[in-house]
């Protein structure tokens, strides 16, 4: 349990990735972060396939931070997979995107996203958002109990 990975960060943009990691580190949340650089990698990780076939489904991330614009499999498709499969549907997913398309937001909520955040241009706001996000989902929010995932 102690080495359980806490956040799966799905982000293809290296600069966004670095800035996000920096803020997560500053908020002391970066010690257990897994990074996926595209949708396929994210799904492989979540469902313990391919390079992650040795992993156990019993230890899901406590939070998935998901970008929408991703290579190979896009964010909405990843979200759909997570929320439609019993072994992963209890995992909280937060969409973090620079998209302001209302349609993306509506679609995400319909697919069962737990939170939808638009990346602010202003760095201070960005920093506060990352900090609040980690604090809320990893500290304030009660994660689903582990047996939620072991019943399958």
């Amino acid at each position: 349990m102690k080495d359980a990975m806490q956040i799966l960060l799905v982000e293809d943009d290296p600069q966004d990735l670095r800035l996000t990691m920096r803020e997560l580190q500053n908020a002391n949340l970066a010690n257990r972060i897994e990074v996926a650089r595209d949708g396929e990698e994210a799904l492989d990780f979540l469902f313990c396939r391919g390079a992650h076939s040795g992993r156990s489904l019993r230890h899901p991330p406590r939070l998935v931070l998901l970008d929408l614009k991703l290579p190979k499999v896009d964010g909405l498709q990843v979200l759909k997979e997570i929320k439609s499969r019993p072994e992963t549907q209890a995992i909280p997913v937060v969409v973090m995107t620079s998209s302001r398309e209302e349609q993306d937001m509506v679609e995400s909520y319909k697919l069962g996203v737990n939170s939808y955040i638009q990346k602010p241009v202003d760095f201070d706001q960005f920093r506060q958002t990352i900090k609040a996000l980690g604090l809320y989902w990893l500290v304030v929010n009660q994660s689903p109990p582990e047996k939620t995932f072991s019943t399958e």
Binding site: Q15, D16, L19, S98, R100, K119, V121, D122, F123, F126
Partner: protein
């Protein structure tokens, strides 16, 4: 009646139809007149037949009176019996009566009158001869009387009378024959006129009908052609409108996506500049730190520009969601939002009564926010600033206005006022993106309204706008 087709075709339809039916009418009237005349002749002929019958009867009466007188006298001469003379007193009067009536009946015929003139003395002589015979018989006995009776004079007289009466009968019959022939001729004319006139009228009406039909067909064809052209035109307008709409949407989508894609690198530039300042700021000389702060400020400004552009593009892409909204409430919300901007300012607010109108409340708030924020910004040098929001009338139409006593602008630049990225002040004097008023104008237009400004440099500015919902209600 014949009109050459060329010049006839040039006539208006009404003239063609009118002349066709008019000529048919004239033909029918002529037929009617000929028939009327023919009937008159027939009636006249009929009365002449009766007249001739009357004349003939009188002539017969005269002849029979003379003959009965003759036979009675012969009877007396032969027998000496006075009974034969019982009618003696009518011998003179009866033919006289007939002759008198004949004179009246044939008063218009000089020939018959002449015949009568000759008949009268013959009759008198005959009567006198008969009296002579009677006297001879009664005085001298049957032999001398019989001798006289056989005398040539008596026989000649009688045959003359008979011949004259026969001549008069022949004259009358001849006249009747002439009149009957005239009547037959008249009837024949009437029949021919009827046939000819009717045929002519029918032909004229058929021609007129054909002209009407031809013209109606032509008109129908022309109408169809016009309808076809109209449909084509409408189709083209629809197509062009659709093309224009598509082009416009494409442009909006392009603006949106460009503005959107600019956000990420901007965030990075700002983020890494801040990271350098935070992580290694202490190692940099002051100038280096200042440059990084400038980069951050520039990215912040660009962020606002992009947000403005995105907002503008979004307004273009969406239709206003209309609901009845109190503009006064919106103004109060805007003042609430601007609270932090005005907390150190000396502003005299003059907010008038505003109507409830049908509008998109979110968009209308942007309108008031931009106009009032502008007023707040450009009155910064004023102590106190006076900002007025209210409603007035312009050309009998309700108009909403936002007025201030700020720095204003020169009206010769008013054409640039609502253009994107157009600014009338230097950024170091008054910050801004140059997108606010373009956004306001776009929202007002989306609501079917119009916006304009009046200003004077260093005196203030006033912005006026109308909304379709503010216009006088139509049914």
């Amino acid at each position: 009646v014949k009109v050459s087709p060329g010049s006839f075709n040039g006539l208006p339809l009404e003239t063609k139809i009118g002349s066709g039916f008019g000529l048919a009418l004239v033909a029918l009237m002529a037929v009617g007149m000929v028939q009327h005349r023919s009937i008159e002749v027939l009636v006249e002929t009929d009365s002449w037949v009766a007249h001739t019958d009357a004349v003939l009867a009188e002539l017969e009466g005269t002849l029979s009176a003379v003959e009965s007188m003759e036979s009675e006298v012969r009877g007396y001469v032969a027998t000496g019996d006075g009974a034969f003379l019982s009618q003696q007193q009518t011998w003179g009067s009866t033919p006289e009566e007939h002759l008198r009536r004949l004179r009246v009946l044939t008063a218009d015929n000089p020939r018959q009158q002449g015949n009568l003139d000759r008949l009268n003395p013959l009759m008198e002589r005959k009567l006198a001869f008969q009296h002579q015979l009677i006297a001879l018989r009664s005085e001298r006995g049957p032999v001398p009387a019989a001798e006289l009776l056989a005398h040539r004079e008596g026989t000649t007289l009688m045959s003359e009378i008979c011949a004259l009466i026969a001549a008069m009968e022949a004259e009358e019959n001849g006249l009747l024959a002439v009149r009957q022939a005239a009547s037959r001729a008249s009837a024949g004319r009437a029949t021919r006129a009827t046939v000819l006139g009717s045929v002519l009228a029918v032909v004229l009406m058929v021609v007129a009908g054909w002209i009407i039909h031809r013209d109606a067909t032509e008109r129908k064809r022309a109408e169809n052609k016009v309808a076809e052209l109209n449909a084509g035109l409408e189709r083209r307008v629809t197509d062009r409108t659709a093309e224009l709409l598509a082009a416009n949407q494409e442009l909006e989508a392009f603006t949106y996506s460009v503005a959107h894609d600019l956000r990420a690198p901007l965030r990075h530039a700002q983020g890494f500049s801040r990271s350098v300042l935070e992580d290694f700021g202490g190692q940099l000389p002051q100038a280096g730190q200042d440059y990084l702060h400038d980069i951050v400020r520039s990215t912040q400004h660009m962020g606002r520009l992009i947000d403005g552009l995105l907002g503008l593009a979004r307004i273009g892409r969406q239709e206003p969601r209309l609901e009845v909204t109190g503009l006064g409430v919106i103004v109060q919300q805007v003042l609430q939002d601007l609270k932090s901007d005005v907390k150190d300012r000396d502003i005299s607010w003059q907010i008038g009564d505003l109507l409830f109108v049908e509008c998109d409340p979110g968009l209308m708030k942007q309108v008031f926010y931009n106009l009032i924020a502008n007023a707040v910004k450009y009155t910064r040098p004023r102590h106190p600033a006076v900002i007025e929001v209210g409603q007035t009338a312009h050309d009998g139409q309700p108009v909403i206005f936002v007025k201030d006593n700020g720095v204003g602008f020169n009206m010769k630049y008013s054409g640039k006022l609502f253009g994107v990225f157009q600014r009338l002040h230097r950024r170091e004097d008054f910050e801004g993106t140059g997108i606010g008023l373009a956004t306001v104008q776009r929202i007002v237009r989306k609501h079917g309204g119009r916006i304009w400004a009046e200003a004077e440099l260093d005196k203030g500015a006033a912005f006026y706008f109308t909304l379709a919902a503010l216009e006088p209600q139509e049914s």
